[in-house]
């Protein structure tokens, strides 16, 4: 029961309280880039969720079972980025072979995920928070992906309406998106301190 409690708390905390986009500024590039339409945003969010769950789990395993045993922590970053690049490649091949229609809708997003800071950032945060339980690492990675999807979908919804608004010329495009994100971050700040 206690473990379950920790898992649920961890999940809620990473989705809402410590949302990667609004409190850690991770994954801002795709956040600004593909939040124009809601279906694309959702596709991107799903792709990120999948890759982040996979690579969060894999990097935790490699970190704890290989690098720490052998005292090779110095090579951590190089290993992490290799795992992420490999995971993205693997997912891309798998999806292309078995779900061609899904692959079509992901399009260019899949390879772009390699340089999404949210993925590497989450792997590093799991390492920083000293999560020593595989299950917890999996739940946190999955939650991070869900949090990212939520953030990018909210933004896409707002931006679709923003197209109809009368925005000053100089603020059109990225600036107004950033300001909107700021106001959203303000809203999410209300959750701060709810869970550790």
């Amino acid at each position: 029961m206690d473990t379950l409690n920790i898992l649920i708390m961890g999940f809620i905390s990473i989705v809402i309280v410590n949302n990667l986009v609004f409190t850690k500024f991770l994954g801002i590039c795709p956040y600004l880039g593909v939040s124009g339409r809601i279906d694309m945003a959702f596709g991107m969010g799903m792709a990120v969720t999948f890759v982040v769950t996979l690579s969060g789990t894999l990097t935790w395993m490699i970190d704890h079972w290989v690098l720490m045993k052998l005292g090779l922590e110095v090579t951590r970053y190089v290993c992490f980025i290799l795992v992420i690049a490999g995971a993205v490649q693997l997912v891309e091949m798998y999806v292309r072979k078995f779900f061609p229609s899904l692959y079509e809708s992901f399009g260019i997003f899949l390879p772009l995920i390699t340089t999404n800071c949210a993925i590497l950032g989450l792997c590093l945060f799991i390492n920083l928070w000293e999560i020593d339980n595989l299950l917890e690492a999996v739940v946190l990675s999955f939650g991070a992906g869900i949090g990212f999807t939520m953030a990018i979908c909210i933004m896409a919804g707002i931006r679709e309406n923003l197209n109809l608004a009368d925005v000053p010329d100089c603020l059109k495009g990225a600036p107004i998106t950033l300001i909107t994100a700021g106001i959203l971050a303000l809203a999410f700040m209300g959750f701060a301190g709810m869970i550790r």
Binding site: L26, C29, Y77, I81, I179, A185
Partner: protein
């Protein structure tokens, strides 16, 4: 021959200046947003971050430029990433050894330089196509442009959130600190308004 040197010198100057304003990585290309927003709560960490990025950018541009003729197209990005990851590890260990407090403040944002789009973008767009000297100058221009932008943003945020710059109080006593400026909200909104300002300035410039 003299003419060649002149042309080359002009090209170098142009490359150097491009990073500072015309192709400023943050304001113009919208690259490297994560560190830009995350480490600019105060000037000191922003400056440290900027210097680390200059170091990594310079080293990776040099290495990529030297091995540009050996690269296979499909393994290109992987090689870039591995080169960058190596230099980021060096920078991270250096910061941990000599400025442990700063290293703690920056936290995971130092290793996150690996996925900073500026560096991979410069490797792809400049270093893999140009010779060593152009690559070095380009790295310096882009790096300095990035650092200056970070410092401007951090300066505004630190001034408004604490009334200090470089931890030296500059505002009158009656100033009430805007705590929100040191939080994520402040980062997003300040950057948004700065981008708007840059748009206005460049539009005015084009008219004249």
């Amino acid at each position: 021959m003299a003419n060649d040197t002149k042309v080359a010198a002009g090209l170098y100057k142009q490359t150097l200046l491009a990073g500072l304003w015309r192709e400023n990585p943050v304001f113009r290309l919208l690259l490297g947003m994560c560190p830009t927003l995350a480490v600019t709560a105060a000037v000191k960490p922003a400056l440290t971050m900027g210097l680390s990025v200059i170091f990594v950018l310079l080293c990776s541009n040099i290495v990529v430029s030297l091995m540009r003729n050996l690269l296979k197209p499909h393994l290109r990005i992987l090689m870039f990433t591995l080169t960058i990851a190596t230099f980021v590890t060096i920078a991270d260990l250096f910061l941990k050894a000599f400025t442990p407090v700063m290293s703690e403040t920056l936290g995971p944002y130092v290793p996150l330089i690996i996925v900073n789009c500026i560096i991979i973008c410069r490797a792809e767009a400049c270093a893999s196509k140009n010779n060593l000297i152009v690559s070095i100058i380009d790295a310096l221009g882009m790096g300095v442009g990035f650092t200056l932008t970070l410092c401007v943003l951090a300066g505004i945020r630190e001034l408004l959130s604490t009334g200090e710059i470089f931890e030296v109080p500059v505002m009158p006593d009656a100033f009430v600190p805007w705590v929100a400026m040191s939080m994520p909200v402040g980062a997003f909104i300040t950057l948004g308004l700065l981008l708007g300002l840059v748009n206005i300035i460049s539009k005015k410039k084009r008219k004249t």
